[in-house]
Amino acid sequence: MTLLLNQWTLNAFYLAAGFYVLALAALRFERLSGLLLALGFSANLASVGIKLYGSWPMQAPHQEPFWLVLCLAGLGLGVLLSGKRDLVRGLLPVIAFLALYTALFPKSDYLPFPRSRTVFAHLMVLLSGLGKALFCAAGVEAALFLRRRKKGVRPLRPRLFGRLAVWGFISFTLSLFAADTWSYLGWTSPVVWREYIMTSVMAVWFYYGAFLHLYLLQSWSLGRQAWFALAGLALLFYFAYLPETGQFLMPRFLI
């Protein structure tokens, strides 16, 4: 049963990644692209749903990349509905790339364990995925801002990348608090020195904490703030996303 569920989790995610890539390919056909994004989101939702079904009431480790892509796609759909089409066009390559990378390099061999049987473990994954998705969206919007400025076009939404980063910071902070609570309940202390990834998580928090200060104090120009938000993508990818992925796994349907 578990093996079957695990395979279905991956199959559903392969499907999601396929839809995301197709959505990117069909970028010129706005409606079709939007529909494919929605289908990708549904398959992605099914993938995390099956995984949860196969773990509940526990949470399997290293699920965050799947949730991150889901949150990004959800954001993309939200943005699409609000009419910010250029932002969706900017988000789609990121969604497709992260989905493909997650599909090909999953860390899906770990079984859930009794200590993950708490609402805080689930909250941590959801809020962290959402926070990072918002940081990604902030980076993409910042890139759009810079591109428009370079072309000499007046930016449409000069403060949006800042707002996205601030919402990301809020979600990410709450995910850390959920992690602290879980850590205390399961391992006696809010901070446990077991996983090296804790250093990079702190680095990401301080980075966006610095951005929050820039945003609130407006001591830097918007252009420099945008560069800062854009640079955050590299930090996120290398230090907060890659450690949650595994080694190359050839999809079974290709073997």
Partner: protein
């Protein structure tokens, strides 16, 4: 200039107030294990469970405040050993003669000194590790028990017998595994032998790696236990996985981390 001087003074103060290691002080970290050299030939050890033990030479006084099961008199002359691995380490250290009791089926023991000792009665068989013969163990008057089984600690504490957990909570890598001899060495005054063994083993490993590096084919391999409903594998950082890689294998669960 004045400000620079103040900054330099602050820096100097910070550097001077740091507890730099003194000459002769040593603190060895071997995976989850550690060995700290103290004055007068004493050692402070951390075992695989994170418990601290103090090794005290027989002619020295035991530092105050330590419970009997926290102190090991060295060199150890009577030890009970649970695993073949630890018995082999003792053999490497030239201390297999100190083994007075072992667990498990007697016929499973292949180490000559233990197998012969069991046959002659010099080494006592204490039964299976899950249900050892405590009466027999007490009669052996061991000075040390080397085990993986944390459940016996309360009973051993009650008896005042120091117990060392020789397996960590996460899988030890190959280097740590070989270096575990250096963790056990102070118990038997065999530090030089341990160092020789480590150097020899590492050199052999390098030789093997040099040969296997040239291999055209890397056979896929896993190391683990297959049960009806689950497969438990050794993580990629474990000594088993690293050994497979060293001999030219492609370890399939290289990206898995965790315990053995």
């Amino acid at each position: 200039m004045g400000r620079l001087k103040i900054h330099l003074l602050i820096l100097l103060f910070l550097v001077a107030s740091f507890p730099w290691p003194a000459r002769g002080e040593d603190f060895l970290v071997l995976g989850e294990f550690s060995v700290r050299s103290l004055d007068q030939g004493l050692y402070e050890l951390t075992d695989g469970l994170g418990r601290m033990l103090t090794l005290v030479p027989r002619d020295r006084e035991v530092p105050p405040g330590l419970a009997p099961d926290e102190v090991v008199r060295i060199p150890v002359e009577r030890a009970v050993v649970y695993s073949g691995r630890d018995a082999s380490f003792l053999d490497v250290l030239g201390a297999a003669g100190a083994i007075v009791g072992v667990t498990g089926h007697p016929e499973d023991w292949t180490l000559p000194q233990v197998a012969e000792g069991l046959a002659s009665g010099r080494v006592a068989g204490l039964g299976l590790s899950s249900s050892i013969d405590l009466e027999k163990l007490i009669r052996l008057k061991p000075e040390l028990v080397l085990t993986w089984d944390e459940s016996i600690i309360p009973k051993m504490s009650e008896l005042g017998i120091p117990t060392v957990i020789t397996y960590g909570e996460t899988a030890a890598d190959l280097e740590t595994y070989i270096n575990l001899t250096r963790f056990l060495a102070p118990f038997f005054g065999a530090q030089e032998r341990a160092l020789e063994f480590v150097e020899r083993s590492m050199a052999v490993l390098e030789e093997v790696r040099a040969v296997t590096k040239k291999a055209d084919r890397r056979p896929k391999a896993i190391w683990g236990d297959i049960y009806e409903k689950r497969v438990l594998v050794e993580p990629g950082h474990s000594w088993a996985a690293q050994l497979i890689k060293a001999v030219g294998g492609d370890y399939l669960f290289d990206d898995i981390a965790g315990s053995s």
